[in-house]
Symmetry: C3
């Protein structure tokens, strides 16, 4: 869809610097944009590309606006403003409705007539699929699952029995909701399975990335509150609680019964030990392991910096001697 | 199902302290339980909830029993006792049998008449599906695969050609068994694929979590022995051997040809380098990398502790200087 | 298939030491091989098995050849030579063609008549499937996806709209190509979704392991160049670029907009922070986090070595005191 900058500025409710009759119909990065493209600058790493951009217009913050060679949509949140502009230029497809003839829907399932059930999707007994829900091809929806209005299972999503998914949630391909947690009781050198009797409750506006897994609770439910955003290949174990608006990047693993607060961010590859609590507004940097509860908001880290391999080898040897080194220092101090 | 405490104590063969006529019909955690619920205390972190629990009964060890405000099922393994009680209160569904009309079963496959093949599942030529096997919807069972009595493929499980799965195994959604391993031979700057000609053998009573992958062997089979338990999103590379009763938590990656002993535990996020051996009864703590063979039973760890980010930054700089710091200490010692 | 050593030597164009009339029909490891088996020695760890091998022949480098008790195919790249020999002994199945009656193929999709579409696979509108492409059961191929000649989607692969896959690519089960990236703009404490409008371009001869995910680009495409090899459970975020012939082992996570050079290797569990560049010929050892751009070829590492747990606990305390320890050393030096 093509829109003039004047139209965009009005619909986005932002200031326009430059010719409002210029029209854009596509989006592109600063360095690759050509005529007709709207671009944006949100990460300062890319500021160097602004001066030479061939975009027709750019979304910028006030402080970058004067450096632009082309018209500017000025926003104090350029990334969000760009996102909304992109949605105007590329409107979502109209929701589909109906049930594909190859879908296998139990006769006791309740499918809203505005919902869509894609090819080869299986919907089990007593599932409730709300208005405008979009279930793509190859999904499996278990017995008594409830999916709220406007939610989307993109394709090949598995939601097992009794899980409850709120409104406007998005579940990407390969997601598994409600698998059994890792509940084992050791008995004389063998493992006995602990029945996993809880389910999963997912709030409104939650997004869950490809191949992420969310286990059902052992006795009560695993809970993901409204607005939480979860990236690809994240593992959320049984009984975990994730607070509203918390964002969890890819490859994070959260162990059983951990409780993550609201407005937190967990960067990629973070691991969280079980049975601990993380307060609201806590941020964990990439690949750190959280081994204790965190009661104070702030940013927390673990890990060693990347080194040239030869340097790392020399230093790694010393990591094993650290306690001894400390005692050597103490000894020197005493003999001073 | 409702049972009296007297009935439970008898069936579980444990001592009852309190009124045997009290009946329970559900399970709950100590802090959330209400009347009619059976609870348990296995993790000492939750002992503080015992005194105020509103459960109708609790499974406890002898030492905790006197602190209970409600009747107690006394067990020296409360978690296992709870697990069995929960199974009595929530009996497993009766196994289904038959083949869903939408399933696509090759005419040369042998399906026991007590087995169940779910909707949209595909079973290829010469597969052998044993008695009472439960294969849920959306699964793919490759040619010549064998699945032993009572095993369960929950839903959307992929088992590729010639894999052999024992009895009473449980495979959760998204599991892939028998994918090609990462076998590459470098030839003049390009990679050539090494044919992956082995398969996968999985023993009795093995459980494999959602989205876990187990590669086929390069020449011989990848092996998971009986009773091993594997959590979600674990990666088991080609030619790996995992000993009986070993438990592997989520997000672990085991590289090719590694050999893990029996009765081991690998905590979440552990990585194991290829071509090494880990003895029986070895325990690796979370997110550690195992870079060498381990011949002695015991517990092993790697990694740096979590720190407030500012503190971590200051310390991380020093990790790169450790060898130099050590030499500075040596120099001080010499000049003493 | 059985072949004499003379036949193998000729077809592989390598020197034979020993009786060319000996025939082999299978492959095996040195320690497990029996009569009729061809074995190989590529990893020096297994050299000790050479002298007692019962294989009928072994592929060896020149320096190992004299130690062999059995005939030798001599190659300066024994692993690659073995791989080719194995392919001769176990030829690939002839490609199938045709569309399984249960597949659901949109009438506007173009399927080459030599391509194969397996059971329950769904192919959406305007997809283009090239000659000899093998799409196994349970796959989902989105609208306008293009798949080049001879590529293989083994089973249950999901390729979302508009992705472009080159020739002779292999995608293993559970792979998801083209899922939305983790694009979020924070607005007053909530997250707004950033439309993900790019797609994914995968070059010729790329192999992608089970349950690996590759997100579509935000504005331009995520790119994997020709000959790159990617193992299981790898996460490749939006806008990432992976250079030709780069090999990425299992459980690696690459954050958005990172650019990985050509001829690189990333070992298992590596994490790469977003918006950085890694030069050609860079090698990262297992479970390291790459937090900065790398402009020089070479090998890079991070992490702490594995220790017995008691030793690790003592040393880990000191890691939190490293900066203070350094200042204690400086103070000692000053007072010397």
């Amino acid at each position: 869809m093509a829109l003039t900058l004047a139209q965009l500025a009005e619909q986005l409710n932002v200031e326009l610097m430059g010719d409002g009759d210029v029209s854009v119909s596509t989006v592109a990065s600063l360095q690759r944009a050509g005529p007709g493209a709207l671009s944006f600058l949100a990460n300062p790493k890319y500021r160097r590309y602004l001066k030479k951009t061939r975009a027709s217009a750019v979304v910028l913050s006030d402080r970058d606006a004067q450096d632009s060679p082309v018209p500017v949509l000025v926003s104090d949140n350029p990334y969000a403003c760009y996102a909304r502009a992109a949605r105007l230029l590329y409107p979502l497809d109209k929701p589909r409705s109906g049930i594909h003839p190859s879908a296998i829907v139990d006769e006791t399932a309740q499918i809203d007539r505005t919902a869509w059930i894609g090819a080869n999707t299986v919907v089990a007994e007593e599932a409730k699929i709300g208005p405008s829900v979009q279930i793509g091809p190859g999904c499996i929806v278990g017995a008594k699952v409830e999916i709220g209005e406007g939610s989307q299972l993109v394709a090949r999503v598995t939601v097992l029995a009794e899980a409850h998914i709120g409104r406007r949630a998005i579940l990407h391909p390969g997601v598994v909701i409600g698998s059994d947690g890792f509940g084992l009781a050791g008995v004389e050198g063998r493992w006995e399975k602990v029945p996993q009797l809880g389910s999963v409750r997912i709030g409104d506006d939650v997004e869950i990335g490809a191949n992420t897994t969310v286990d059902r609770g052992t006795v009560e439910d695993t809970v993901i509150e409204a607005g939480a955003k979860i990236d690809n290949q994240v593992q959320i174990a049984h009984n975990v609680f994730i607070g509203a608006q918390t964002a969890i990047a890819a490859c994070v693993g959260i162990s059983g019964s951990a409780r993550i607060g609201r407005y937190c961010t967990l960067a990629g590859g973070v691991g969280v030990v079980g049975h601990l609590e993380i307060a609201d507004h806590v941020h964990i940097t990439g690949m750190s392991m959280v081994t204790r509860s965190i009661s104070e908001p702030g940013t927390y880290s673990a890990g060693t910096p990347l080194m040239e391999n030869r340097q790392w080898r020399r230093n790694a040897v010393r990591m094993k001697q650290l306690d001894r080194l400390t005692r050597r220092i103490s000894s020197l101090e005493k003999s001073k």
